[in-house]
């Protein structure tokens, strides 16, 4: 089963500017006359972050805090949470504003691990509703009655050689960025909320953002799942041990 055609297409100089690829993953050319443009392709299933087998659907209410020899670590679950609110909370923890010995000129904050970044929610008209984009008729209706909901309006600008490069900024919509690397969205949000000084990079070094449900840090607890009430197990009428005991 081949994974993506993009890798096997010969890399020659692209002379035709109108033939732009949809993404680096596949060699699918954008058709300017198609009904839908710039549809984000979902992740291939083999690349989707996997959740542990025995996890049940959950929502954590609090951050899990763990004290280490290196300091405090807070593990936040981003599932279904707003980007801005989560980022504000995380930036407060990173700066150390929740501590009595806060100093604005030192890095005294805690480390933050954000998990499930791929399931984060962007409130408003920021991007197309993924659940609706799969349904053709619902998206049509949405386009007719509320067209502003169907545009991904949020743009990220990444500068390379700000002044000298004539190409200018690399502009990406939030939808496309989510497709390429979902944890960038949260880390950019936190970066914008941290104070714009020389300590910002040091704060960001302590932020770890993972798109999946598990984080690779040793010794740190994973996001805890509240156990659902299981139906009562009816004990078997016959047990091997009881029979052995009876025979004895």
């Amino acid at each position: 089963m081949f994974r993506s055609l993009g890798r096997f297409v010969r890399k020659t100089r692209r002379r035709d500017a109108s033939r732009t690829w949809q993404s680096f993953r596949d060699a699918k050319v954008i058709n300017p006359f198609s009904e839908y443009q710039w549809t984000s392709q979902p992740y291939p299933s083999y690349n989707m972050p996997r959740v542990a087998r025995d996890v049940r659907p959950h929502r954590t209410l609090k951050a899990i805090s763990h004290c280490d020899e290196k300091g405090w670590w807070h593990i936040l679950d981003a599932q279904g949470r707003d980007v801005g609110k989560l980022a504000a909370f995380a930036s407060r923890l990173l700066q150390g504003k929740h501590r009595c010995d806060y100093a604005p000129d030192r890095v005294k904050g805690d480390s933050v691990i954000i998990v499930n970044a791929i399931h984060v929610f962007f409130p408003g008209h920021t991007w197309v509703r993924h659940c609706l984009s799969s349904n053709f008729f619902l998206t049509l209706l949405l386009c007719l009655f509320q067209p502003h909901l169907c545009k991904d309006t949020k743009i990220y600008r990444f500068w390379r050689n700000r002044r000298t490069d004539p190409r200018g900024a690399k502009v990406l919509t939030a939808t496309r960025l989510m497709m390429l690397n979902p944890s960038i969205i949260i880390s950019q949000a936190v970066k914008g909320m941290l104070p714009n000084n020389l300590l910002r990079n040091n704060f960001l070094r302590r932020l770890y953002c993972y798109p999946g449900a598990i984080h690779p840090h040793w010794g740190m607890p994973q996001v805890i799942v509240p156990v659902e009430k299981r139906p009562e197990m009816i004990p078997d009428a016959f047990t091997f041990e009881a029979e052995v005991r009876q025979s004895e």
Binding site: K97, H98, R99, C100, D101, Y102, A103, P104
Partner: protein, 108 residues
């Protein structure tokens, strides 16, 4: 001071004048910055007790406790037990208000 301002007299003279000007208003700004720092620390400490800085201060004014922010900050860092007592006093004043505030028109 960097570059030629370090070495050349004419340029250094300009920077020195600026520096003296800065020293004048930074002395005043220092007192403001210290107060901001105290307020941030008191805010963090009171949030540990489930109380906000704004409510703490209003509670203290109502309880007629004229503890300044500098002392509150030092208390929060070195004597957490005394700080908790202060927070409890403020909470008591604020709690009384929330119980009566629903139909109380005396403030208007």
């Amino acid at each position: 001071m960097y570059g030629r301002s370090k070495r050349c007299f004419k340029l250094a003279a300009v920077r020195v004048m600026k520096e003296l000007n800065h020293m004048y208003w930074l002395r005043k700004k220092r007192r403001k910055q210290m107060r901001i720092l105290w307020i941030t620390r008191i805010n963090a400490a009171s949030r540990e007790h489930g109380f906000l800085y704004s409510r703490l201060i209003s509670g203290l004014t109502r309880a007629n406790m004229a503890v300044d922010r500098k002392s509150l900050c030092i208390l929060a860092e070195t004597e957490p037990a005394s700080f908790k007592c202060v927070v409890d006093e403020a909470k008591r004043m604020m709690k009384r208000e929330t119980l009566e505030s629903a139909r109380n028109l005396s403030r208007f």
